[in-house]
């Protein structure tokens, strides 16, 4: 069986949420919804996807890692795009969506192996 079929449901939901919210953010939503969707797809979902690659079981540390990894990864991606003169917020949304999906695939492999 493939890793994806053996992946746990939260990981699949996380990856799908990243795809859907990234598309919605790019298409555009009314202001409060756009803010929520963009914060989720840029910071919270990638932070969660990366944090779950670590074997953290502690709730407080897990929460901290979601925030720190989400913010730090977005900073790294945005800064690199500015230095490469390819920045646009849409490109950042796509990049963070891709990072989230890749992290979910890595997590699915971990789950399949365990």
């Amino acid at each position: 069986m493939s890793a994806m079929t053996l992946a746990k449901r939260p990981t699949i939901i996380l990856g799908l949420a990243a795809v859907v919210l990234a598309l919605l953010t790019l298409v555009g939503l009314p202001t409060p919804l756009q803010t929520v969707a963009a914060v989720a797809v840029l910071i919270l979902l990638p932070g969660r996807a990366l944090a779950q690659l670590t074997p953290v079981t502690d709730l407080a540390l897990g929460t901290l890692l979601v925030l720190a990894l989400g913010l730090a990864t977005l900073t790294a991606v945005s800064t690199a795009m500015f230095y490469l003169a390819v920045w646009s917020w849409q490109a950042c949304v796509i990049s963070m969506g891709v990072i989230t999906i890749l992290a979910c695939i890595a997590r699915a492999r971990q789950e399949a192996a365990s």
């Binding site: 840029l42 690659l53 953290v56 502690d58 901290l64 720190a68 990894l69 900073t75 500015f82 917020w89």
Partner: protein, 592 residues
Amino acid sequence: MTSTLDTPSRMDLRWKPRDLWCALAGAGSLALVVWAASTVALPVTSDLGLVAALPFPFWAGVLILNAAFFVALRGDTEGPASRPVMIWLVAVLVLVLFGTAAFVTDVPRGEVAFRHLGIANALSGMQQIDPNIDAYFNWPGFFALLATVLGATGLDPVTLALWAPVLNVSLWLVAIAVLTGYLTRDPRRRWLVLWLFCLGNWQDQDYLSPQAFGFFLYLVVLAMVLGPLAAKPATFHGFRPAGLGQWWRERTPAEPRTGFRLAALVVTLLLIPVITASHQLTPFMLLVVITVLTLSGRVWPGRLPLIAGLVLVLWLLYPASTYLAGHPLLENAGLQIAAEANVVDRVNGTAGHLLVVQLRVGLTVLLWALAALGAVLEWRKRRLDLRIVLLAATPLLLFPAQAYGGEMLIRVSLFALPFVALLASSVLLPGDGSVRPSARAVGALVLTCFLLAVLTVTGRFGNAQYDVFTRSEIDAVAAAEQLAPPGSSVISAAHPTPWRSQSYLEHRYRTMDDLCREDLSPQTCGPIVYNYARHNPGGAHLIFMRSTEASVVLQGDNSPGEFTELEEWISMQNGVQLAFSNTDARVYRVAP
């Protein structure tokens, strides 16, 4: 095994009546504070700042909140109140102390947050980084993040800046909650540290800024270093090289899971470059602190300081080389220079302003004294964790390294504050965690923390006469920036001026204070400003505002009448026309 918050408070779903009353008291105090703050009339006119303008119900709310917190902290024999109640009360304190200004006005305080919005806006427009513009473009990480977040979310930048202190302090507290979990197992002390951190945080570095972001990531790295990357201390064999070598080799990792240690190391190695790319000072502070911690034998990856140092050097040599070419690192180094810039130059101004400065110093000294006493008490009980002392004291090493615009002492006190609060908490809660504080002790704690809250509000909002802007002043600055053609100068009387948020690169921004080297007398400053404006090919727009006049007068740079005389002198010169005016500001156009 390393884990945090083993038993911070009960997680049972059944709330005791006392918990409910504490939560309700927190809600009531918040309502009282919000209502009281919203009645403050602007502009603030007292030299003492906002503290003199806040009505009695505000302080009643603060007192009730402290009482609710300490009743909840006292809890019962099982420990403090349930975790949701404790989190709620800390959240209310954050809103009360760091959201006060947002309840008073819808305009962010100070000049710098406006400037930072302008840099993010300029980056969005350029879509690339030009390090020749200024220092900010040599450390652009935070601004790249801000530009992306503002572009994608559609958030109003001014609203984000207004609430940034609440957001930043909330992030800091999450990190402090985690790292104190590695330093004490006493749940009451952990909650008290969060409370004391808020009450001692008068430094006002939590606005929309790279340093606030950098401080959050700094705390996260410390959480990694104190938690999954920590080492158990080995037996010390003396200072001889062989003994030191043996001591170093005998260290063992505190976290037994190799995978967790590796993951924590990867997280740390991601955060270090992001911190380095985002702020000038924070990576130095981080390098010094993790070096000292590593040398104490309490960090497992012994090469971590080398990696942090290498990242820092590479950043200075390449992305930040443009700025450093004209600004050597140790340009303003030395204890005497640092003392003059950080202490002597700041103790100036009117009697009210001097009192505010003295109270800021007093609050810091009080907390440090409590921390020193706490360290002695812990040492005598043979339970002093050396790491806490190192984390509190090490930031002081950077004090003589750079004057940092007279702000180094403020930054040092902020970086030390979480650990100063942790040491101080052992004086305020001398038991070992299983001991429930007496009702009398709770009463004393309520009064002590209420006093600290008064001092913090006084220190934090002590410049409100000039850093809380009125809507008229914002309108005047916006008018000046709109009227000024691209390439022309916009000249304000002094800092702070809420400008550059929309047109960071379009104009040349100067202050009369800087042009005239702080002598604003009409005889000296008038001709300098007038000639500067006339010789600019695009002309200039001059802004005179209530807040800038208050700034120079309050800080002792000028007497009250001189500012008006300067304005009158300039307004009578050839080619000078009044272009905009309202109750708090005038804008003059100077033809080239």
